[in-house]
């Protein structure tokens, strides 16, 4: 059994990995008890499992955990908390931008990754950035509005 060290939310975490093909999502949820990233499709099609790795939004359901040794992983729990939310999280709360909320992890993480590169995105830029993130409840307008407001640009 190989062990692998990941940097998750600023802490070094060492895991025993029997199958190096095990997706990062399963390591986060089951080995590290970080359940904010969600299983949506296991195919990289919906975005519910998104985490930020070295500044990039990454689908954790299709990426093997072995590919993340030495990389900096941020999950939604590490981004902020109810008491100290990240500005994207605070904007989601202010805009009430969730219905069932199962896609919210992916939206928040993709939105936060976007702001790192494009600090004041327009609504169109947000829509483009989230084009591969699915929401089934139809909360899209609020999500766009939240990310735009978190960036501080006028929608």
């Amino acid at each position: 059994m190989a062990s692998i060290t990941l940097t998750v939310n600023g802490s070094a975490r060492t895991l025993d990995v029997r199958d190096p093909d095990k997706p990062l999502l399963y390591a986060l949820r089951n080995d590290l008890n970080l359940k904010g990233a969600k299983y949506g499709c296991g195919l990289g099609q919906c975005g519910a499992c998104t985490v930020i790795v070295d500044g990039e939004a990454v689908r954790s359901c299709t990426s093997p955990v072995s590919a993340f040794a030495g990389k900096k992983i941020t999950t939604i729990e590490g981004l902020g908390s109810p008491d100290k939310p990240h500005k994207v999280q605070a904007a989601f709360i202010a805009e009430q931008a969730a219905q069932c909320g199962y896609c919210t992890n992916g939206m928040v993480m993709s939105g936060a990754a976007l702001l790192e590169k494009t600090p004041k995105p327009t609504a169109e830029q947000v829509k483009d950035a989230l084009a591969q993130n699915l929401c089934r409840c139809g909360t899209h307008e609020r999500i766009v509005s939240a990310v735009v407001k978190a960036g501080g640009a006028r929608g």
């Binding site: 949820r29 359940k35 296991g42 009430q96 931008a97 992890n105 483009d128 699915l134 409840c137 139809g138």
Partner: protein
């Protein structure tokens, strides 16, 4: 063991029980242990505590719709208690009354109103108790801020000083006077949803995140051909997976393992042989199949005048056939559940919309008495009708029973798209006639629908069939035949349904069952009649709409949208359309106007939507608004993209590439006006705004192209081929 002891034991034995239920860890077991769940009793719905807080108990659950904000609003208002003193427990079959499933947009109109009456009854009782203690007449007292006080001022008595641990021991009075809406402090005001901070920060415990000691992970293996029988299983095929075990009960096949990724691998590796099975048609042949199905009976749902005579005599006749395909709930998270089946009792955690009725179903299926089954509700991914939540729970229950440990079953994406019970297909025909002076004189709607089984308690689940366990057979679809009646004054009307005995894929209610397709048929036909009569679509509707609330919805949407009056279609690739409904014939009013761009290659882009929505008294304005937004966006996707594809073996559209839904670039600009009527009863808001979406969209496409789209989804290929067929060109 009596029921009280049993409740205490449940609370003691399941330490993880409350982790996902907000505030519930603060509850004292001894307070709960004797609690009634009799829906006729006030104490079933609420309990006042010595510390000045209250707990409300709801059999209806929040499916992401905001009931978690709305129920405390209602209770706080009626009780006279600050809203932050109120805690909510929902869907737990041991603690909450059975208020029926959370479906049909009845969370507020039924569940919320039961809670309102319970709280109003409680307030009357508190005032009466205080009147005796204070020596004042009841009409001089009111319940405010957790106290009963003289209205004229002066010292009051706290609720806690008036009520003991025993509770009210009172029957719910359906006629107990409720607060005057002009005095409302919470109802009709914005109250943020309590679950959103945890959802936005990854702390909310969904069903999928629930864990308990000793829990095993399970996956169900289902045949590649629906209905196939299991011949053999090669146990050696998963020998390399640590701790993996096979659970086989007749045709039910599952695999469990301590580690989730291991069980994912085991489910892929497991070799099994199946035989038989298959479907009577494929999706390409479904419309013809439905049209050729034997009609078991025909029912006239609405009748006025004499349709046949008026139609025969009329000079202008129109007819058309409409098709709504099979669609999936397509929940973003595949269904998940945990079951802990022990000797003689069981607990299930499930995102069911109907925990109470499925508790009975699960108990029957496991051979347990109903009172030995407890079902807890935890949030799932949105389900919009019954998806696979209960199936996953039944799968978990069979596996847990077999191995004697708690089992968590997580369906895969392929399972969810392939196996969730589907919204069944609909074929709707319209015939109508105009008089020589352009007046509607006759209208006939005919719907072909699978007939729901009379008094079916629950929708049959997959694994009890496979395991040959007890379960009631039948079909449930929701009321597919509702909405075929035009909401207009028509002198000679006949609305009929041809009942069919079955439908190829297992059915269930999918948001606004039948009503989107029926409204598409009725409302695009209304536009066809308007054109034939030489009238603008809005003007024509108003000429036949006498209900003042309906008129207001249509008039206000025309203004909100800045509707341009026109009779002939514009045919330049840009168009606008309208759709109107009164949901289920007597509930919420919705009018939707829509603008579309249609490209030369047939792609439809909805650019602008305006909606007016009158659901009577509004409890949570932002909750209603969010439901209306969701209804509009989800239904644009259902109309443009969604159709379940299947061959003679199984569903083939089993991922998001083959079953596309609306994405961010498809999102139009939306303007929504909520019409609040504080003195009317509240109606549902969860589905109504879906109904006119497809109609408004089809009418806008007609305006843009001159093409009538009557077959859903309105894919680019379908639009392009209609453009080629009719020689339409623009751009």
């Amino acid at each position: 063991m009596n029921i009280h002891t049993s409740r205490r034991n449940f609370l003691k034995s399941t330490g993880a029980l409350f982790i996902a239920i907000p505030f519930a860890s603060e509850l004292k077991a001894e307070v709960i242990s004797g609690k009634t769940v009799d829906a006729a009793q006030v104490d079933a719905y609420l309990a006042l505590h010595a510390d000045g807080t209250a707990t409300i108990y709801s059999g209806k659950v929040d499916l992401g719709t905001g009931l978690r904000a709305a129920f405390p609003q209602i209770a706080a208002e009626e009780l006279g208690l600050p809203i932050d003193k109120i805690k909510l427990i929902e869907g737990d079959t041991l603690l909450t009354p059975d208020q029926g499933p959370t479906s049909g947009s009845n969370g507020i109109p039924k569940g919320g109103m039961q809670l309102r009456q319970a709280a109003a009854t409680a307030r009357q009782a508190l005032i009466k108790l205080a009147a005796e203690k204070l020596g004042k007449p009841v009409n001089e007292l009111d319940a405010i801020n957790g106290e009963v006080r003289p209205k004229a001022g002066g010292a009051g008595l706290s609720f806690a000083s008036l009520i003991t641990d025993k509770g009210f021991e009172l029957k719910l009075d359906g006629k107990a006077p409720v607060r005057d809406s002009r005095m409302h402090q919470y109802v009709g005001k914005h109250v943020p949803r309590p679950d959103i901070p945890a959802k936005a920060t990854g702390r909310h415990v969904y069903m999928h995140d629930f864990d308990m000691p000793g829990m095993m992970h399970g996956r169900t293996i289902r045949p590649a051909i629906i209905g196939a029988e299991l011949v053999s299983v090669d146990e050696s095929s998963i020998a390399s997976i640590p701790g993996a075990k096979i659970v086989r009960i007749k045709n039910f096949l599952g695999v469990v393992a301590p580690d989730e990724w291991d069980v994912v691998r085991a489910a892929k590796m497991l070799k099994a042989e199946w035989k038989g099975g298959g479907l009577p048609t494929d999706s390409a042949g479904l419309r013809d199949y439905v049209k050729a199905q034997k009609v078991s009976s025909t029912e006239a749902l609405d009748k006025a005048g004499d349709f046949a005579t008026a139609y025969a005599a009329a000079p202008k006749k129109l007819s058309g056939e409409f098709y709504w395909p099979t669609q999936s709930h397509a929940s973003l998270g595949p269904s998940c559940a945990v079951a802990d089946v022990k000797e003689g009792e069981a607990t299930i955690w499930c995102s069911s919309q109907g925990t109470h009725r499925y508790a009975k179903h699960f108990a029957d299926m496991l051979g347990l008495p109903a009172n030995k089954m407890r079902v807890h509700y935890l949030d799932g991914a949105g389900c919009y009708g019954m998806n696979g939540h209960e199936d996953a729970a039944a799968d978990a229950a069979f596996m847990s029973k077999a191995i004697g440990k708690p089992v968590r079953v997580q369906w895969t994406r392929e399972d969810e798209h392939g196996l969730d019970p589907k919204g069944p297909p609909q074929v709707i025909t319209q015939e109508a006639a105009l008089s020589a002076d352009g007046k509607i004189v006759a209208w006939h709607t005919t719907m072909r629908c699978p007939k729901p089984t009379d008094k079916l308690p629950t929708i049959p689940l997959l694994s009890p069939v496979e395991a040959d366990a007890k379960q009631v057979k039948g079909i449930a679809t929701g009321s597919l035949s509702s909405g075929g009646k035009p909401p207009y004054d028509v002198p000679n009307l006949l609305v009929e349904v041809h009942w069919l005995e079955d439908t190829p894929l297992r059915a269930s209610h999918l948001r606004a069952p039948g009503k989107i397709g029926n409204c598409l048929a009725v409302e695009t036909f209304m536009d066809e009649l308007a054109l034939a009569a030489g009238k603008d679509p809005v003007e024509f509707r108003l000429a036949y709409l006498s209900d003042p609330r309906g008129r207001e919805a249509v008039e206000r949407v025309a203004k909100l949208f800045n509707w341009d009056k026109r009779v002939e279609p514009r045919r330049n690739g840009k168009g606008r359309g309208i759709g109107f409904t009164q949901y289920k014939g007597d509930e919420t009013y919705v009018a939707i106007a829509m603008e579309v761009d249609v490209s030369a290659d047939g792609h439809i882009k909805v650019t602008r939507v305006a909606a007016t929505h009158d659901c009577g008294q509004i409890i949570s304005p932002d909750g209603v608004r969010s439901q209306v937004e969701g209804c509009i966006l989800q239904t644009i996707g259902r109309t443009l993209f969604e159709e379940v594809k299947f061959d003679r073996n199984h569903v083939t559209s089993r991922d998001w590439a083959s079953y596309p839904i609306l994405t961010f670039p498809d999102v139009p600009e939306m303007k929504i006006e909520l019409i609040d009527r504080p003195n009317e009863p509240p109606r549902g808001a969860g589905e109504a705004a879906t109904a006119p979406v497809a109609a408004a969209l089809a009418n806008a496409v007609f305006d843009a192209t001159g093409i009538r789209l009557r077959t859903v989804p309105f894919t680019a290929a379908r639009v392009k081929s209609a453009m080629v067929e009719t020689g339409v060109k623009f751009g």
